[in-house]
Symmetry: C4
Subunit: 225 residues, 4 copies
Amino acid sequence: MNDRATDSPPGRLASWEKRTEFPLFMAALLFLAGYAVRVLASPGTEPWRGVALALVCVTWLLFLVDYAARLRLSGLGLRFVHAHWLDTVVLVLPLLRPLRVVRIYNAVRYRRDQPRLDLYARVMAYAGLSSLLIGFAGALAVYQQEHGAAGATIRTFGDAAWWVCATLTTVGYGDVSPVTPGGRAVAVLLMVCGLALLGAVTGSFSSWLLQVFSREDDKRPPERG
Amino acid sequence: MNDRATDSPPGRLASWEKRTEFPLFMAALLFLAGYAVRVLASPGTEPWRGVALALVCVTWLLFLVDYAARLRLSGLGLRFVHAHWLDTVVLVLPLLRPLRVVRIYNAVRYRRDQPRLDLYARVMAYAGLSSLLIGFAGALAVYQQEHGAAGATIRTFGDAAWWVCATLTTVGYGDVSPVTPGGRAVAVLLMVCGLALLGAVTGSFSSWLLQVFSREDDKRPPERG
Amino acid sequence: MNDRATDSPPGRLASWEKRTEFPLFMAALLFLAGYAVRVLASPGTEPWRGVALALVCVTWLLFLVDYAARLRLSGLGLRFVHAHWLDTVVLVLPLLRPLRVVRIYNAVRYRRDQPRLDLYARVMAYAGLSSLLIGFAGALAVYQQEHGAAGATIRTFGDAAWWVCATLTTVGYGDVSPVTPGGRAVAVLLMVCGLALLGAVTGSFSSWLLQVFSREDDKRPPERG
Amino acid sequence: MNDRATDSPPGRLASWEKRTEFPLFMAALLFLAGYAVRVLASPGTEPWRGVALALVCVTWLLFLVDYAARLRLSGLGLRFVHAHWLDTVVLVLPLLRPLRVVRIYNAVRYRRDQPRLDLYARVMAYAGLSSLLIGFAGALAVYQQEHGAAGATIRTFGDAAWWVCATLTTVGYGDVSPVTPGGRAVAVLLMVCGLALLGAVTGSFSSWLLQVFSREDDKRPPERG
C-alpha cells in the first residue's frame, strides 16, 4: 500500500528528479564546455569544433528527454509547461541552466558528509556560483554575437569577460559595449539575472557581517559592571 | 440604513474605484499603444497617425473624467488634489500611469480565481511589471525628444530601448545617452522611478532566496541525531 | 531647584538648539541661494554678485556664532569638537549642511500640527530631501570648479545638474565628468553622501512596499474557508 | 591542570593571535607604505626605492612567519590551509590584508578604554575603513599596471584614485579605465570586494537611519492623548 504512494505521479517525479540531479548538472557543464570550444576555437581546428558541436547537441537532447520524462511523470499534461515555467525557459535557452544550480549544490554537499554552511554563507555561495556560471555563459554568447560585427568594441574573449564583470557589478564603464541587436539582447538578460543574483550576494554579506558583529557582543562578558 | 453608509462619500468613491479599475487599466494600455504608434510611425503613414492621436486624446479625456468624478465623490473639494497627489501627477503625466498598476494586478488575479502568490513573489511581479511599463513609456518619450536632435546618440527606437535597460539597472554604459534638455528630464524621472522599483525587485528577491534556503532547513530531519 | 536643572549646561544647550533650529535652517537656505547667485551670475551683473557674496559671508558668520555658543554652553571645552564632529565638518564645509536637515524637518512638521508620516515615508522624505539639497550644492560646486577648465565636459549648469543626477543614482554614463582635481574631490564627496542617502531611500521604499502588500493580506477575509 | 588547557593547541593559537594582532596590523601599514613608495617614487630617487623594496620584503617575511607559526600551533597540519582560506589568500596577495582589519579595530578601541560604538556604526566603520584601505591598495596596483601601457587612460596616481572611487561606488563613468590584462584583473577583484563592503555600509546606514527615526518616536509622549 505504501509502495503505491511512492508510485503515484508526484512520488515518481521526485524520485526521478533525485536520480537525474547530478547527471544533469554534469551534462550542463559539458554543454557549457562544448559551447565554449565551439565559440572560441578558430575555424581551422576542425576535429575539435565538430566534437564540440556534437557535445552541445547531445547534451541538449538529454535536457529534452529529461523535460519530457518529467512532464509525463508529473501527470499534469500541458499545465506542466506553465507550472514549471523556469524549466521551460531553461530548456529553450540552456545557457541559463546555471539558475537551477541550487539543488545540485545542496546535493553535492550532502554527498560529501560535510557540515552544512551557515544560511547566509550558503546564499552567498549559491548566488556567487550562479553569477560566475551565468557570467561565463554570457561572455561566450556576447563574444559570439559581437566579435565579427562592424564597429564592435568587444573583439576578443578577454574584452567580453571584462565587459561581463563591469555589467554584473553594475559599474558599466562603457569602454567596451555590445553594438549588435543580438549582443544587446544577451546583455539585457545578463543585467537582469546578474542584478538580482549580485543583490542577493551583497544583501547576504551585509546581513552576515551584522550577525558576526552582534554575535561577538554576546560572547564578551559585560564590561566590568 | 445600511444603504446610506454605502452611499456616503467614501463608500461611493470605493464603489466607483472598484468598477473603473479594469476599464482604466485597459485605457492606460490603449493610451500607451496610441502614443507608441504616434511616436514610432513614420510621417507618411497618415491614417494610422491620426487614429493614434485620437486614441491618445480620448483616453486622456477618460482619465480626466475619472479624476473629476473621484474628486466630486470624495467630498473633499480641492484637498483631494493634495491628498491624492500621486493621482494628480499621473493625470498630468499619463506615461507614469504604470505606477498605479498594483491594484489592477490584484484585481486581475482575483478574477481568475487563482491562488495568491507568495508575498515576495507579488512584490517582485508588481515592481517588475511597473519597471517594464515605465521603461517602455520612457523609451518612447526619450526617442521622441532625441531622434531628431543634433549630435544625438539615440537615433533609433532600438537605441532608446537599449539605453533604458542600461539606465534602469544603473549600469549606465554611456555609449548612447540623451543630449537634449527634454530627453535628460525624462532620463532623471526614469532613474528615480526605476531605481526605487528595481531596488524593490532586488530586495525582495534577496529576501525570497533567504526564505527558500531557511525553509529547506526546516523541512529536513535533523541529521542522524 | 528644578530651574537649576534647566540651567545646567545640557539643559541650556538643548534650549539653545531648539530656539536656533528654524533660524539656522533659513540661514542655510540663504547661504545656498547666495552661493548659487555668486556662482551662476555672469561677471557683469555686479550689484547682485556683491549682495550674494555678502549673504554668503553673513550666514557663514551666523554658523560660526552658533557653533561657538554651543561649544560654550555644552561645557565640554575642546572635546566638543570631537564629540560633535559632524557639526565641525559642516562648519568648515557649509555646503554639507543639508545633512543636518532631519531635525528641522521634524520641527517644521510639528509646528503645522499635521499628523506624523509613517516611519518609512519619513525616512524616504528625509533622505530624498537631503539628496536634493546635497545634489544642488554639489552641482554648484562642480560647475564652479569645472566650467572654465581646459578640456572640461561640464560647461553649463545644466550639464552639472545632469551629471549630478547620473552620479547620485550611480548610473554614471560618463558623457560628462569632472576633469579638475577640485571637481573630482567634490564628486567623490557627492558619491559617498549620495550613495548612502539613496541607499536609504531605496531600502525604505522596498520595506514600505512589502509592508503595504502584507497589510493588504491582513485586511482581506480568508478565502472562502 | 588549568595551565595545560591554555597550552593546548587552540589555547596557544588564540594567545599567539592576541599578541601578534597589533604588530601585524602595523606591519600591514608598513607594507602598504613601502609598496606605495616603491610604485610612486620616480626611478631616479634611488635610496628610497631600495628602502621601500626592503620594507616590502621584510614585512612579507613577517606575514609568512606568522602564517607558519599559526599553522604549527593550530595542530591541524595542511587542513589549516583550507580551514583558514582567507588567511591563505591574504598571505599570497598581501594587498588584500585590509580585509582582516576588523579584529585589530576592535582591539584598538578596547585599548583606549572608550565605550563601544553602536552595532551599525561599527559595521559602517569597519566596512568603510576596509574600503578605504582596499581602495588605496587597488589604486596603487592599477597605477603600477597601467601607467606605462600603450593607449592607457590611467596615467597618473590621481587618475587611478579617481577611477577607484568611481569603481567602488559602482558609478563607473568610464572616462578612465584599465586597458591591460593585469589592470583589469585588479579591477575585477576591486569590484567584487568593494561591492560587498560598500553594500554593507549602505545597508547598515539605512538600518541605522530607520533605528534613529523609530527611537525618536518612542521618546516622544503620545500626542495630546
